[in-house]
Symmetry: C2
Subunit: 371 residues, 2 copies
Amino acid sequence: MSPWTAAQPGDPASAVDTPALVLDLDAFERNLQRMAQALHGTGVRLRAHAKSHKCPEIARRQVALGAVGICCQKVSEAAVFVAAGIDDVLVTNEVVGDAKLQRLMDLARRARIGVLADHPAQVRALAAAARAAAATLDVYVEVNVGANRCGVPPGADAVELARLVAASAPLRFAGLQCYHGPAQHLRPPAQRAAAIADAVAAARTTRAAIEACGIPVPHVTGGGTGSFQHERDSGVFDEIQAGSYVFMDRDYADNERAAGAPAFEHALFVRTTVMSRPSATRAMVDAGLKASSVDSGLPVVWQRPELRYLKAADEHGTLDTPAGDTPALGDALLLVPGHCDPTVNLYDELVCVRGGTVEALWPIAARGALL
Amino acid sequence: MSPWTAAQPGDPASAVDTPALVLDLDAFERNLQRMAQALHGTGVRLRAHAKSHKCPEIARRQVALGAVGICCQKVSEAAVFVAAGIDDVLVTNEVVGDAKLQRLMDLARRARIGVLADHPAQVRALAAAARAAAATLDVYVEVNVGANRCGVPPGADAVELARLVAASAPLRFAGLQCYHGPAQHLRPPAQRAAAIADAVAAARTTRAAIEACGIPVPHVTGGGTGSFQHERDSGVFDEIQAGSYVFMDRDYADNERAAGAPAFEHALFVRTTVMSRPSATRAMVDAGLKASSVDSGLPVVWQRPELRYLKAADEHGTLDTPAGDTPALGDALLLVPGHCDPTVNLYDELVCVRGGTVEALWPIAARGALL
């Protein structure tokens, strides 16, 4: 990692070295409030997705505003958050392999831990590991509600797996994971609504089929920043897993906003400097693909629509500019990343700014936690 | 970062937790030897590009085999390598801003440091910072030889900038940076040869024009893994900046190999586990886009051409498989990353294996060094 940080608390925001990952604290706090308000009084709880931020300081603020806990994708991420005092963590993923299962059980002795399953062999391995460790944990059956990623099909297969979990003490059958990832990024609101209507129907019939066997289904969990109001209003889901809403990114902003959906703001930026001005229509910035992930498309330049980020190399970004000298060599710009999650994963800290001053550096403690 | 590592020295390679970045030491060492042999006796030296590996253990082995030193893209990367004992480091980039210039001068008092310039304002700022710090350093004029990224045009503009550097003590005019990035990835050898022939012509005329002013041009440096034999044989370049040859990646392997070019081998792999097997033709692995960068396309499954890596989500990879149970839940696979540089930047260590055993963990000490 860099032997020094991009800034220190108290520095002027204009002096933050680049590239740096900057969090606009006012916008961030408004985003937290908007999500809390959107769920207030609905009986639907927030389990904030921490894979987006990997930052205990943020998780603590989400819990303080009512989140039941967090979810994350990896056992090693969960370990970072449990160590930071988050006591309810769902690993929204299947976990396979003895080493990982032992780590998971270590966590389950210290916090409420959940995990997903979509195959009987996983359930048997989880139960054996839990028994050996004298631990218990929540197991959710993952249902494929349209993402075609992991998950058993809705209906009979899910019932069978739920029965197995319920019969596999000390595991607790905690309910259904019904997340539809691709639906988050459908641009027209009607398309997102239709995809989630299908997911809700699959969740509803699966839940009913399990309950018909006399097995309670404590939770149906899922939903993301792009769709959560549909899961919230479904009467089936009781938990939302949104993560990106704290930051927003270019990809989510490319969604057309549904009527009544909260207007989350861009709060996360890559600060960058023009380090070469080789022609009147080309400016080179010091933020390339190691500074802003390009898997969901290129970043855009914040509030400078006349500047177009054309191309990312490892450490160079090429901007197309109107003919002239603006931006000048040495000018700083803010980029809105294409995709917040993998961009955050490139940095060791968030430079938190408010009112033109660096207020804090927040460690991205689970950065690189892949195991 | 993860609170634990994927393996320990002495572990069987088959027990490495996933996802992990695995280096096949035998293949890696053969790649180092092949490059050393390709340059042996030519009078052209290697300045290995450390942005690819960010790993002092690798830089030391490159220097031991004859590399004059390394190059890298960032001042903070240079600091990591100087701290690790590499005493000749060229930052192959323009460096702008007082904070960065001061850091660069700190390094220039401890090691031989070089940097690029493509604008008079950069040269003036470098000279002022060097004088203030009582430091000296090598400054190379970057020439745009076809990449259309940074760099002054060949010819008169380059001459003018070289004059300014040469007149700006304590800066040393060290020569020309003439790197053609896009040429590295042209698939047909004839296209790479033609692009580099143009770059060589631009470098030759620019060098001659500067020398005609009585200014010696100590070095012409550039070239990469895809093209270096052309720069080597040009009679103009005396230094090669290849980096990816130590690892290779899917993108470089997609190049058709030129006659006589060294057959660099894949030495870098992302080890991954099948953690869900939701259908007879779909296997989900635990390595997504936070485990293998997708900017240059998707990874491929090593020596398993029947398995196709279709799609990367943050923490999931979707494999298309022939109908059946292979690979099975829990099976480990090796992926060849699409692009080695940003993939390495996602990990904290290389798990080095030989003969089925983990021989060492090498810290990727400059991972995330963006400043």
